[in-house]
Symmetry: C2
């Protein structure tokens, strides 16, 4: 068979671009740094949205929609925020054929405009907490774009909440971190993210504390899969989000924000993909079982094969399986099989005249490539078992990689060296802000700080923290 | 009770703004013409999306996502298209701190950028039809903005398809018109839309044929609720969307586009709303039954009331009803009831100590305001029956209005006069392009052309067509 993809070991970044092109996940847009998400890629994003959205709503947040255009002056109200985002802004100077009196920016994120409305809507402590989320596009001009990972426009959800106390804001930022993000990434994406706290140097512009979920990609690099921020009273002061307390005083609220984006599609590819293409974890997959009709060599008996295949499709659908169906018998089977592998459908059910004559269909599992004849009446049960097992198998494989390629070292120099091939865990006391700068100079970043027991610290000044250093996307 | 809303008869536009503000559906955004869709409004939009999206997928289209930013040069490739949209464009001139070599426009619609990619993806007749849809925001600079109806940024779905023949393109544009749009608007929104064909003067910029769905609002004006366009080969020529046919020749494809937007929220308000607020048809409603705890006058027995209310909530949920729950007993009940009316929940289930002592809860139906004590074990069945009946009742009421306020006349002059209070049906032969201009000069437009039997014409040159004239939003 002709080589479809560049092997990962040969050139990982080229393999990544190959998968995106050949599996028809996305294209580059005409304006530099933008992307077109094709139906195969978008169907995965829709599944991510559905799973995330249910968790966000279960955590009590409600969806809303705020404008794409933000007055430039809003960004300037929070000093760190404007400093962080200014270099990445797209600016609209003309509208309706006229130059605008005040230029507007295309939102890079929405803390400012949402802060403005929180100030209008919050009056008393009874209005808190105010828990909002939006699904939207945002724009951050990218100098070195890469599809899904860094694009000038991307799709995301951004949550924004206001609380009466710092403790309540912190608890909610952590609730989202664990109950929404970690639960989804571990349980559905099958990615064993490391959950920790960003250093002051890596915080979101305007935050007092940033939590992060870091995934290890197939080449040992890190990808920030999502973040949850405590914003302290910074935005509440800048936008005057105040409330009258139960005791009658007027207080500034405490706010949080948190986001995940189409970047997760990049993480999915780089965490689970192999040299034959994408592998989509069953719980996420838009197509979990792909029923394929195999044409008879001599062109006979296609009717009964098609009938048996349709019945299997319906039986799988009735059992709650998301089913694809491929009856394009005029296309060579080999090409269709390669396409199914590229797109990473967890299970293929091949129905052909020869196997059917023996009462069988063939189950092909994408995770390990195994092909097993299964008696037709047992297909549904076998598919369900395979989906369950392969969800776990992909997670286990990713966890093994992360453990194998994370080394515990004692010095900054060793950590930087170890970052060439994976992650390094080193005492934060050996690094500190000065060591962090040194590492940054060599393309290595502190991905997060964690406690010795793996839990998330409340401050970077806690004793005995471990820093995770790595190269990152 | 204090007057909450301006009565419709007193000032319909002010009533509309009042409903939007008091039901907390939306706010004006800081940049002129933009809007903030608040959770109550957005939940309705999410329900619209879910119902529409299922129908769009059933019609065979797949979701994708194309970039927000379009090179200015793309728009210029189709002469009518650029002429139609130029006055409404928002233009980005700076990105990443630098002036852009070529300014980019914020998409007002995506025929051009999608045409560019259709050209890349379509090779042979086997690649057709190519059926795409996207859910996205678009920007059209508005001089006279009105929330939901005309906003500088709005949310919508836009479908874009390419076909091998004109007949196939026409059949698909009509399939979307009837099986997606009409089916949704009639069956879910409960709006008896009139489906017809736009005149040449009212066509989408770049289309060869535009189909429309027109709803009558409470004041007798028309609202265009959605459109489906045949684009002929205009965009296929401009973007070189060609395919090799089965016989070996190279042909231009035939394309369509079709869209519906957050404007439907405006139509919902103005079609079904009354002087007490919004009335949301049950099949659309995010909250179909709103269970409210009524506080005892003397503060006693709240525990058992709360228990009974929770049980009713769970029983309704188990029966597949979308349930809201209001246990804010510290807020005066009158205020909570007014809020529920404003937001238009189809059924309220009031659970209080006095009725409960008699074994009852009280069902309040938003459609007709009726209040009925119902034995607790019968509540679920009564709610289901009320939801079914009130879906029909709202449709019937809207249809009656449309029929009552549509008059059939014989001359253009009579049609223009009748448009002051409703719709006029007049022979198209009495109007024609010249009469259409005359009507336009007096604020009246030809909403659509229909055949005598109510069906949709293939051409505006068919004999015996009726023109529907009205004032419109």
């Amino acid at each position: 068979m002709a080589r479809v993809l560049t092997p990962r070991a040969e050139d990982f970044p080229r393999w990544y671009q190959d998968v995106i092109a050949k599996a028809q996940l996305a294209d580059n847009g005409p304006v530099r740094g933008t992307m077109v998400i094709r139906p195969t890629g978008y169907a995965i994003w829709e599944r991510m949205q559905a799973e995330m959205d249910a968790r966000i709503k279960a955590a009590g947040s409600e969806n809303a929609y705020f404008p794409l255009f933000i007055p430039e002056s809003y960004l300037r109200r929070e000093a760190e925020h404007v400093e962080g985002f200014s270099p990445e802004l797209a600016v609209v100077t003309h509208g309706g054929g006229k130059q605008l009196a005040e230029p507007v920016v295309v939102r890079p994120t929405s803390e400012t405009v949402i802060g403005e409305f929180m100030a209008k809507w919050v009056d008393s402590y009874r209005d808190l907490p105010l828990l909002l989320n939006q699904w939207a596009n945002v724009v951050r001009w990218e100098l070195r774009p890469r599809v899904f990972l860094r694009t000038s426009e991307f799709l995301w959800q951004e949550g924004h909440t206001a609380h009466a106390t710092e403790a309540d804001a912190r608890a909610y930022a952590r609730k989202i971190l664990h109950e929404v993000y970690e639960d989804f990434m571990v349980g559905v994406l099958g990615i064993p993210v490391l959950v920790g706290r960003k250093t002051a140097g890596e915080r979101f512009a305007g935050a007092t504390n940033t939590y992060t979920l870091e995934g290890m990609m197939g080449d040992g690099k890190a990808l920030q899969m999502g973040t949850s921020h405590e914003l302290g009273q910074n935005f509440a002061r800048a936008f005057d989000i105040t409330y009258s307390s139960a005791t009658g005083g007027v207080e500034h609220a405490w706010t949080t924000s948190w986001g995940t984006s189409t970047r997760m599609l990049g993480g999915l590819i780089m965490c689970h993909g192999d040299d034959n293409g994408l592998r989509v974890p069953p719980r996420l997959a838009p197509v979990q079982a792909h029923v394929m009709i195999v044409k008879d060599g001599d062109g006979g008996a296609l009717g009964s094969v098609a009938g048996a295949a349709s019945k299997l499709r319906d039986a799988l659908r009735d059992a709650g399986v998301r089913v694809g169906f491929d009856d394009r018998v005029d296309t060579p089977f080999g090409r269709r099989a390669v396409d199914a592998e590229l797109k990473g459908y967890p299970v293929r059910v091949e129905v052909g005249p020869r196997d059917l004559a023996a009462g069988n269909a063939v189950l092909v599992r994408r995770t390990d490539g195994s092909k097993t004849p299964v008696a037709v009446p047992d297909v549904v049960a076998s598919v369900l078992a395979a989906l369950e097992a392969d969800q776990q198998a992909l997670y286990d494989e990713a966890l093994k990689l992360r453990l194998d390629r994370t080394v515990t070292v004692g010095t900054l120099a060793d950590a930087i060296e170890a970052s060439a091939t994976g992650w390094a865990s080193v005492p934060w006391s050996e690094v500190g802000p000065a060591g962090e700068k040194e590492a940054n100079g060599q393309g290595v970043t502190v991905r997060c700080l964690i406690r010795a027991d793996g839990s998330v610290p409340d401050s970077e000044d806690e004793p005995e923290l471990q820093a995770i250093l790595a190269r990152a996307y």
